[in-house]
Symmetry: C2
Subunit: 208 residues, 2 copies
């Protein structure tokens, strides 16, 4: 069981929050709009609580589930309130056509989060290659993640497993750029190759 | 049934060639070293023939199965001999650590091939997200591909289906950059998340 804080009250916050509660984790929901976080925490049940935006989150793992352009500003605003936390970036910085990234080629939102994060915090990229609406279905999905801190990755991996998903490490935080690109491939598949949105990406063959 | 030329005599040429023959396609093997192409064509059987390097290939689909750094030079050397062909780039331009790409961020080998290709040729990126040694096993795998020419993609898709694999279009040739990055994710999974090499990437959910 993990103690999780989720910053955000949108679809991904709701999908991950519901799985986290079902998996027996302690869940805190944090929104700028207290009425939205109260609504979501109540909807999640399972003892989910709300926290005050900008103050130290209760959870050891802090999932930043806001629009990609807001992720780094939110982490910067939190500053030392995130010291010692495992910060999970789930964002997809897609351009308006969702066929390229909206950030420079030599970085990723996760790497920028690492630059903005306080000393002692660790950053893990995860969940950006799964659609929120597919997460909600409760199927067993592969969740790719990347990061430089083995301990932080172990915590995130355990959390992912606790919610019935399969955690798959793809390497260091430099791989976050390519995970963000893999998010584009998932979009492309949904639009072209498969033509529907009820899909996931996964690794096959090793335990099928 | 398609008419396929494969430039190259390495592992990927062998793996794709074997599947192409088994799928009833006409196969031509082209190498700089005639003894190697003769050996491979003989090993493939099924009427596989050899062609002369640098002259117009017999196949409608020309799969360039050489080291990534040689792909664009080979296409440039062929020049007008590739007019009217569907050129398939299968390369992975990995850096020495295979955790980043060895080419500029704003392009891909496939896009560079398109610049080097003669008028009337079309370029499709395909097969770079499957390992050659997994292809050889004969399992049903997902093959992601990208390109700007719908007709060329239809031909490649039919070829992929003819060899027992599942063709999945991810969009325009600009997506080739992200397919090359997805090749890195596959490498990362094999090294970290899965810890073995007998895996594939795939899209799940739409016909399982």
């Amino acid at each position: 069981m993990k103690s999780i804080s989720i910053i955000g009250t949108g679809d991904m916050a709701r999908a991950i929050g519901a799985l986290a509660v079902a998996g027996g984790n302690t869940v805190e929901i944090i929104g700028r709009d207290q009425s939205k976080s109260t609504e979501l925490a109540t909807a999640l049940g399972g003892g989910a609580r709300t926290g005050d935006f900008g103050t130290a989150p209760a959870g050891d793992i802090v999932i930043v589930a806001v629009r990609y352009a807001d992720v780094v500003p939110v982490v910067a605003q939190y500053g030392n309130a995130l010291a010692g936390k495992v910060i999970v970036d789930i964002s997809n910085p897609f351009n308006s056509e969702a066929d390229g990234l909206a950030i420079p080629d030599d970085t990723s939102i996760a790497q920028e989060v690492a630059r903005a994060a306080p000393a002692g915090a660790s950053v893990v990229k995860a969940f950006n290659t799964v659609f929120g609406h597919v997460l909600k279905e409760g199927r067993t999905l592969d969740v790719f993640f990347a990061g430089d801190d083995a301990q932080a990755k172990a915590h995130v991996s355990e959390f992912i497993a606790s919610i019935g998903l399969r955690p798959l490490d793809v390497g260091g935080l430099n791989m976050a750029h390519w995970l963000e690109g893999t998010g584009l491939v998932l979009m492309g598949l949904a639009r072209h190759g498969v033509g529907q949105w009820d899909i996931t990406l996964g690794a096959n063959g090793f335990d099928d």
